[in-house]
């Protein structure tokens, strides 16, 4: 279970109740409370600020539309992280397909793609992100989920287990394997 310290009036449950009776200002409070967390999760998977911001928007819109289906079996934060994680992974799958088409058209469209890059992009930052992405890509999906949730969200093993719907022991083991694999990868590609 994921607990957050918050005033009694703005607990997730009370905000959700208010949203369900049509109070949109409660949803805005919920967005403000979790926007950074959702954004961090998305960044951890997509490694691009603009894409992560777009994804954050989509996550909250989906949350709003599906809030009636949230039964409270897990905490709201657990549910939110699970949706953020799944939407980020779906986004990556779509990106892969897009990238394939881009490669096919690369001969004709290379000039166009380069010119579309933002002029003010920080090259060093971009390289660092590329490096993180290329290393994390070598993990299995489950290992990547565990690593991102643990390192970008600082979730405890219990919280990780709740989000991934596995036992705490399995979560611990998954995280350990992810870190071991990462250590090996960075050793091979320093």
């Amino acid at each position: 279970m994921i607990y957050a310290t918050e005033p009694m009036t703005n607990t997730d449950e009370s905000l959700i109740e208010r949203i369900n009776i049509g109070d949109d200002s409660a949803f805005e409070l919920l967005v403000k409370k979790y926007q950074q967390k959702v954004f961090q999760t998305c960044v951890g998977f997509v490694h691009n600020e603009d894409d992560a911001a777009d994804l954050t928007q989509e996550v909250f819109i989906r949350i709003y539309k599906r809030l009636h289906s949230f039964k409270g079996k897990s905490t709201f934060a657990t549910w939110l992280y699970r949706i953020s994680m799944n939407m980020s992974l779906n986004f990556l799958r779509k990106q892969k397909v897009k990238y394939l088409f881009m490669r096919i058209d690369q001969d004709q469209g290379e000039q166009e793609i380069i010119s579309e890059e933002r002029a003010d992009q920080n090259i060093l930052r971009k390289d660092e992100r590329k490096k993180i992405a290329s290393i994390l890509q070598k993990l299995t999906t489950a290992q990547r989920k565990a690593f991102v949730l643990s390192h970008y969200q600082e979730l405890s093993n219990q919280e990780l287990a709740d989000v991934l719907e596995i036992t705490v022991k399995a979560a611990e083991s998954l995280l350990y394997r992810a870190r071991t694999r990462l250590r090996e990868i960075v050793k091979e590609n320093p």
């Binding site: 926007q35 954004f39 490694h47 992560a52 954050t56 819109i61 992100r129 350990y176 250590r183 320093p190």
Partner: protein, 140 residues
């Protein structure tokens, strides 16, 4: 300390500060482990740096704006459709009523016969067609 044990422990640390004195001594004497530690921790540092990226403070405004856009159109669209339908029905009714007022009272006996034939006859239109076919003008 053996390299295997050191490397196993390395998996659970996030910074050099977390190393025990024994482990520190080990990397001082083992260049291979020192190299591996540096590579792993500098990767974790990159992750930490990326994690610090802050979301735009306007994102909540953007989300609320997008929500209003996706929510509201349904009602205005429904209103527009209903309004357009009402206008069309009203125009048609106005047309029928005005036609009835202007023309309806002037229905002659021949027209009445045609109408009654059309609606009550079992052979709709046949009498009318016979009349037309046997018309003198037609025979010419």
């Amino acid at each position: 300390m053996q390299c295997n044990k050191y490397i196993q422990n390395l998996t659970n640390i996030h910074s050099l500060d977390e190393l025990s004195p024994e482990e520190r001594d080990h990397i001082k004497n083992c260049s291979e482990c020192e190299k591996e530690t540096q590579a792993y921790l500098s990767f974790l540092l990159l992750v930490e740096k990326e994690k610090q990226t802050a979301v735009s403070p306007f994102i909540s405004t953007r989300i609320m704006g997008k929500l209003q856009k996706t929510q509201k159109p349904f009602i205005p669209q429904l209103q527009t459709i209903l309004l357009n339908t009402a206008v069309i029905i009203f125009t048609l009714m106005l047309g029928f009523i005005s036609a009835y007022i202007l023309d309806g009272n002037k229905i002659g006996s021949e027209q009445e016969e045609m109408v009654s034939q059309y609606f009550s006859s079992t052979s709709v239109g046949l009498n009318i067609e016979d009349n037309w076919l046997n018309n003198e003008l037609y025979e010419e």
